[in-house]
């Protein structure tokens, strides 16, 4: 619209109407998808996606416990976000926190039996939902393409962050 000339669009132009339509479809659909998966998880297991990520990391950790900052790094969350989330999970009895003996001001996060239970019971329905809502929706080619698209987007995002 800014220019009628059909010049080869080299990075600096605005998106075309088609590109914009794809953007909107893509972003709205992925949002709907993750919201649907999250709704299923909630219904099946009374867990949020955040809960699941934390419980998964702790389940795989040595002794089912981990330093708070290591946990944050492992799952790629900001420390403050994790702190808030752990407070909510602790209120519900899924995890516990205790002072780390070796590191001053350090905090150990550990899985409670209730948390381990909740995670165990959630796994199967959650994976089933992923298959039903995501994997089964796509052809093998599309699934492969989805992986490549994610990789390309991530690489591009990373490159932008470092400029």
């Amino acid at each position: 619209m800014t220019s009628a000339t059909p010049e080869r669009r080299r990075g600096r132009q605005l998106p075309t109407a088609d590109e914009l339509r794809i953007w909107r479809d893509f972003i709205e659909t992925t949002e709907a998808l993750s919201s649907q998966v999250s709704t299923r998880l909630q219904a099946d297991s009374a867990l949020s996606p955040g809960d699941y990520v934390v419980l998964l990391a702790l389940s795989e950790a040595q002794d089912r416990q981990m330093r708070s900052s290591a946990l944050a790094a492992h799952i790629g969350w900001e420390r403050s976000r994790l702190s808030h989330h752990l407070a909510r999970m602790e209120r519900r009895g899924l995890i516990r926190r205790q002072d780390c003996p070796t590191v001053p001001r350090g905090s150990e996060v550990l899985l409670t039996p209730a948390g381990a239970d909740a995670f165990r019971n959630s796994t199967f329905p959650h994976l089933r939902a992923i298959r039903e809502l995501f994997v089964d929706a796509l052809t093998p080619d599309q699934l492969r393409a989805a992986g490549e698209i994610a990789a390309a987007l991530r690489a591009h995002l990373g490159a932008w962050g470092e400029d």
Copy 2:
């Protein structure tokens, strides 16, 4: 893992490790992408993605105003979500609400001059961000594939909702 037999995976099995890896990459990357676009929009225009969607709809509406429920339907939001969001936008002077003369209990949402300004100034940088972070990251084939993947996911989601 549940069964070693390589039976053709027909909808009822859990995802394979590869499928699961693609799922995680895909969902995490799209989340990072929309968060990055939202950060840009905020930095460039002091608007959230929600603000943008509402302002876009109002800008295109007859007389730059719309019934609250029509607006909600148009952008696909729950009424309560829109109500909360409009309250925040009204506080900031981007929109105004007034009683609808024809419909009892109905509410007209209308764009203020400040809201129209904010939207106008946000458009260019926002579209540029979409191009830089999304369109430019993908090859034309990948872009096409992204559109098809979105369509397939959406169709599948819809089918699930109606069962």
